[in-house]
């Protein structure tokens, strides 16, 4: 005899629940958590290195790096002067809240101001999994092409800030900035956007100022 059991449960509710726990752990320690997402090679790690070098005198930084394999990125973050933890996802295409929860236990949160989580390089899957960080930052880059907002709408819809990296390459590649930004505007109107080059450091200051403003705003909220 068949019986229908109504459920109405979000399929990712377990992940969302852990994400909420992660957020409250960060909040109670006064840590601002940023989730950096991008395709492979967009310059997530370079941007993180620059963030550490420029802000380490004023803020205590930590980095949690998600990669399918190796600790190359965590090593780079550590060399730049941040505490770092590597998560190897062993094939998974994204970080989830449970992986982040494990990594948070390895950090002295009370001593940290700013935590950057470097997600697995991928423009699809990380968008579906909340981590418990406060803001998501998408790092696009000029050589990827100007059609990426149109091709990966889920990722562009779900972020609070956008970095357009490698602007020093604009003279050498076909990248219509107007077309790119139109695509972003359709999906995420008014999105805070920072065109910059990690290599030449042009435009970096506006992004760093945003990070510090977010840090200040977060401090006021959690206090």
């Amino acid at each position: 005899m068949k019986e229908r059991i109504p459920i109405v449960e979000k399929i990712l509710s377990a992940n969302d629940h852990i994400a909420a726990q992660n957020k409250s752990a960060l909040d109670s320690a006064g840590v601002l958590g940023l989730n950096f997402m991008a395709s492979p090679g967009a310059g997530k790690t370079s941007l993180i290195e620059h963030t550490i070098k420029k802000l380490k005198d004023r803020l205590k930084l930590a980095v949690i790096d998600g990669d399918v394999a190796t600790s190359i990125d965590a090593d780079r973050a550590a060399a730049a002067g941040a505490q770092s933890v590597q998560i190897n996802t062993g094939g998974e295409c994204h970080l989830d809240a449970i992986m982040l929860q494990g990594a948070l236990l390895e950090l002295p949160l009370e001593e940290i101001d700013l935590l950057i989580v470097e997600n697995v390089g991928n423009l699809i899957c990380p968008a579906s999994f909340q981590l418990g960080t406060h803001k998501s930052v998408l790092i696009a880059s000029v050589p990827e092409g100007d059609d990426k907002p149109y091709k990966y709408p889920g990722m562009y819809r779900g972020v609070e800030a956008l970095v357009i990296n490698k602007t020093d390459l604009l003279p050498y590649v076909e990248f219509d900035m107007e077309y790119f930004r139109q695509g972003v505007e359709i999906l995420n109107p008014g999105l805070v956007t920072f065109p910059l080059s990690c290599r030449s450091e042009e435009g970096l200051d506006a992004y760093l100022a945003w990070v510090e403003t977010e840090m200040e705003a977060h401090r006021r909220v959690v206090q």
Partner: protein, 113 residues
């Protein structure tokens, strides 16, 4: 390809509710997926056959109910169902819009024996 972890979540939720109902076997699983959720039905089905193997949900039929996108314009109040990527209001052109449907991703019901 995050359908594997998603499929594992579906199995976990279904088995938990079946156990609470003291059911022996799950025959059908009803999923609600909004058109804005980047989930591929075939891929979930592929992983389902693997992860449900040997459980009370082995062989259960997956039913996918797709929900169309519904948006309410915050500027003029227009309600509409965009088919294209452009989510802006067709009536007044505003991009200050609220998505009221299309992001669903949940388990609606299971059928058990």
């Amino acid at each position: 390809m995050h359908e594997l972890s998603i499929t594992e979540s579906i199995l976990e939720i279904a088995l938990r509710h079946a156990a609470e109902a003291e059911a022996d076997k799950i025959t059908d699983i009803h999923l609600v997926i909004g058109k804005l959720s980047s989930i591929i039905d075939d891929s979930v089905q592929f992983y389902w056959d693997i992860v449900s193997d040997g459980t009370a949900a082995q062989g259960a039929v997956l039913h996918f109910r797709r929900v169309r996108i519904e948006i309410v314009c915050q500027a003029c109040g227009e309600s509409y169902h965009p088919e294209e990527l452009d989510l802006s209001c067709p009536a007044c052109g505003s991009r200050d819009v609220r998505i009221v449907a299309g992001e669903e991703f949940r388990l609606e019901a299971i059928e058990v024996e």
